[in-house]
């Protein structure tokens, strides 16, 4: 596929991109708090069991796009959270186990209901999994004289609700996220905040369902927040950075999906996973930096060992043996190439020199000062 064809495709489907980006933003905002509160797998449970809510509501209203269906399904998501909480409060099972028992049950019932009663309806299992963001612009709505995709409008409304909630209750959310006990001591109801947060994630999951499907919405919710959590140190920057990640993931996923002609929401989830992996590897405290630091610390330790050894033995009768250029490696119990490499580094730093006459290592003036400093540093 060449560039003109690609731009042709984009001009036909830019509305899908808009829907994707707005969905990603709405999810990422709420997702930050889910990541911070350790509720990520609860959102997974919500996104699975919302399906049962949608199916049940569908049996009542017989219209997939009715707002009642969305509301009913969102309520069902809250009911899931409530069941998980109630189950783990009995003390019979742990919280993780409660999550693991509630959502498979709801999901199984939904699958049974779909396959038994709703085979030919607008609900099929493929749509449940990935949604069809490429088809979403086909369902349109007239608003202010403009013809807009329905999914775009409903997603925009959810985004605005989420934004308003976070802006209005920012102080409370912050307190409740970072120090729940203090928040309760100040008289904020943590249950009310918890359930409003959960209702919003449930609503977001239900509305995103059209665009991205039940399972991949987890990626939209959690991945940007998780990336931002790794690199940010304040809530404000975290919210902003996660928004950036969300938009970037959606955009790159959309372009790649067009280019390879594959599932869009799947591609966005894949890109989100990759961007998380890159962030995890490359950030300032990431895995690669940790490995480099670990290596460097190890090398510094060996250099210190060598300096200590030379300092301890210089001026002693055994020094020609202990500090000999040829024999030092034996006394340090290192390979001779390694001790030569270390001595080269120390020489470059001006800590040691080789005395020509006896060909033994000696500390320079600077080296002796360094020797006494590390001695006190190591507490010897």
């Amino acid at each position: 596929m060449n560039l003109t064809e690609l731009s042709e495709l984009i001009s036909h489907s830019y509305e899908s991109l808009l829907i994707l980006i707005i969905t990603a933003e709405a999810c990422a905002l709420i997702g930050c708090f889910l990541v911070l509160r350790g509720l990520s797998m609860l959102s997974d449970a919500i996104s699975h069991s919302v399906l049962l809510g949608i199916v049940l509501a569908f049996f009542i209203v017989h219209d997939v796009s009715s707002p009642w269906l969305l509301a009913g399904a969102a309520l069902f998501g809250v009911f899931t959270v409530f069941s998980v909480e109630a189950l783990s409060k009995t003390g019979l099972v742990k919280k993780d186990d409660a999550v693991g028992i509630v959502f498979p049950l709801f999901f199984s019932i939904a699958v049974i209901l779909i396959s038994r009663y709703a085979r030919n309806a607008h609900l099929d299992t493929d749509m449940v999994l990935m949604g069809e963001v490429i088809l979403a612009p086909l369902y349109r709505i007239r608003l202010l004289g403009l013809s807009l995709p329905k999914a775009l409008v409903s997603m925009l409304i959810v985004l605005i609700i989420n934004l308003l909630f976070i802006l209005i209750f920012k102080k409370e959310l912050k307190l409740f996220t970072f120090d729940e006990d203090f928040a309760s001591a100040l008289g904020f109801s943590s249950a009310a905040l918890f359930y409003s947060l959960m209702s919003l994630s449930s609503l977001t999951a239900v509305v995103s369902f059209d665009a991205v499907g039940a399972i991949l919405v987890v990626s939209f919710l959690i991945a940007p927040g998780a990336c931002a959590y790794l690199i940010c140190r304040s809530l404000n920057t975290m919210l902003l950075v996660s928004g950036l990640y969300a938009a970037l993931n959606a955009f790159i996923g959309y372009i790649l999906a067009l280019f390879l002609q594959v599932s869009m929401s799947g591609m966005v989830a894949t890109v989100a996973g990759l961007s998380f992996l890159l962030t995890f590897l490359l950030n300032r405290e990431g895995l690669i930096m940790q490995l480099i630091l670990r290596r460097r610390r190890k090398r510094e330790f060996y250099l210190d060992m060598m300096t200590l050894h030379i300092g301890n033995h210089s001026g002693m009768p055994e020094e020609s043996e202990e500090l000999g250029v040829k024999s030092i490696s034996r006394h340090l119990n290192w390979k001779s190439e390694f001790s030569e490499k270390c001595s080269r580094i120390l020489k470059k730093r001006g800590i040691l020199y080789i005395e020509e006459a006896g060909s033994v290592y000696r500390l320079t003036e600077k080296g002796r000062a360094y020797y006494s400093r590390i001695k006190s540093d190591y507490g010897i």
Binding site: M41, D44, T90, L92, G100, L105, I112, S115, L221, L230
Partner: protein
């Protein structure tokens, strides 16, 4: 009343044998994961096995159960390794790492699947069965699938029996186990091997989304009845096997009841009953409270 005509039919016997083997083994093995507090890792592995299945189909152009199993094991293990690596090398909590890995692997599976669907190169090999690895299609399993399930389930049960003592120590008191020179690396490996192979082998029956509950729910039900490891293992295997038979029967009886979800619904029902009526269950608790109030 039981319908004996169904009970004797060939399809019922094959499906029942498959689900029974899988659920029995999964029930027993799942106890280890639940007791270790890692019940949601199975969920992540189950979701993550999906792209491996599609990839293995793309590579070999056929749906032999063994090759697909290998693909599932490879991608499930990759996901498991990634989760552990992220969890131990960053400040991110385990559940966020789980959520990110499982959703992006599943997304990758979706991408690969849609790539196959639109690609004429793959139209020759039949790919219609791939869908069944998401939701499970127990009613379509064949003898070749049983031939795979039988050794996998028996092998994991055998491993469990062989290393029963060591695994028990490893689960309840890892430090003590290490002082007795029981290598925790090996125990980890055995645990992962059993879990992974059961998940991979069972994907076709119950699908990648629900497979983890076969490991989890019988264990939870069994834990309500006993505090002894050996009894819990036996009970969990029993609960798993029984609900598999009952679920298969119900799904054969009524059209449209998918087997995997039916089995899991019955399992959950058992678990809830156990929670209500178990010796430390909800009803017992209420009675106890009453007696103290008097």
């Amino acid at each position: 009343m039981l319908d004996f005509e169904i009970l004797g039919s060939y399809t019922f016997l094959v499906v029942a044998a498959g689900t029974f083997l899988l659920s029995t083994a999964a029930g027993a093995v799942g106890c280890i994961n639940v007791l270790k507090g890692e019940s949601l890792i199975g969920d992540a592995i189950g979701h993550s096995a999906f792209p491996g299945i599609v990839l293995s189909f793309m590579l070999f152009m056929q749906r032999s159960p063994l090759l697909l199993l290998l693909g599932a094991v490879v991608s499930g293990s990759t996901a498991f390794f990634l989760i552990q690596c992220i969890h131990s090398n960053s400040k991110l909590q385990l559940d966020a790492a789980l959520a990110v890995v499982l959703s992006s692997f599943f997304g990758m599976g979706m991408v690969l699947k849609s790539y196959i669907q639109g690609n004429p190169d793959f139209s020759k090999a039949s790919q219609s069965g791939l869908q069944s690895y998401i939701f499970g299609q127990a009613s379509y399993i064949m003898r070749s699938d049983i031939c795979l399930l039988l050794p996998v389930s028996l092998l994991s049960l055998l491993l469990l029996l062989l290393f029963y003592k060591e695994l028990k120590l490893f689960v309840f008191d890892r430090e003590y186990a290490e002082t007795l020179a029981i290598p925790s690396g090996l125990m980890y490996f055995i645990d992962i091997l059993m879990t992974m192979s059961l998940i991979a082998a069972g994907l076709k029956l119950v699908g990648s989304i629900l497979i983890s509950s076969l490991l989890l729910i019988p264990a939870i039900a069994a834990l309500q009845w006993s505090k002894r490891f050996d009894r819990v293992l036996i009970l969990a295997a029993l609960f798993g096997g029984l609900s598999a038979l009952a679920g298969t029967y119900v799904s054969t009886l009524y059209e449209g009841m998918s087997t995997g979800p039916t089995i899991i619904s019955i399992m959950s029902l058992l678990a809830f009953i156990s929670m209500l009526f178990g010796p430390h269950g909800i009803i017992a608790n209420i009675r106890l409270r009453r007696r103290f109030l008097k």
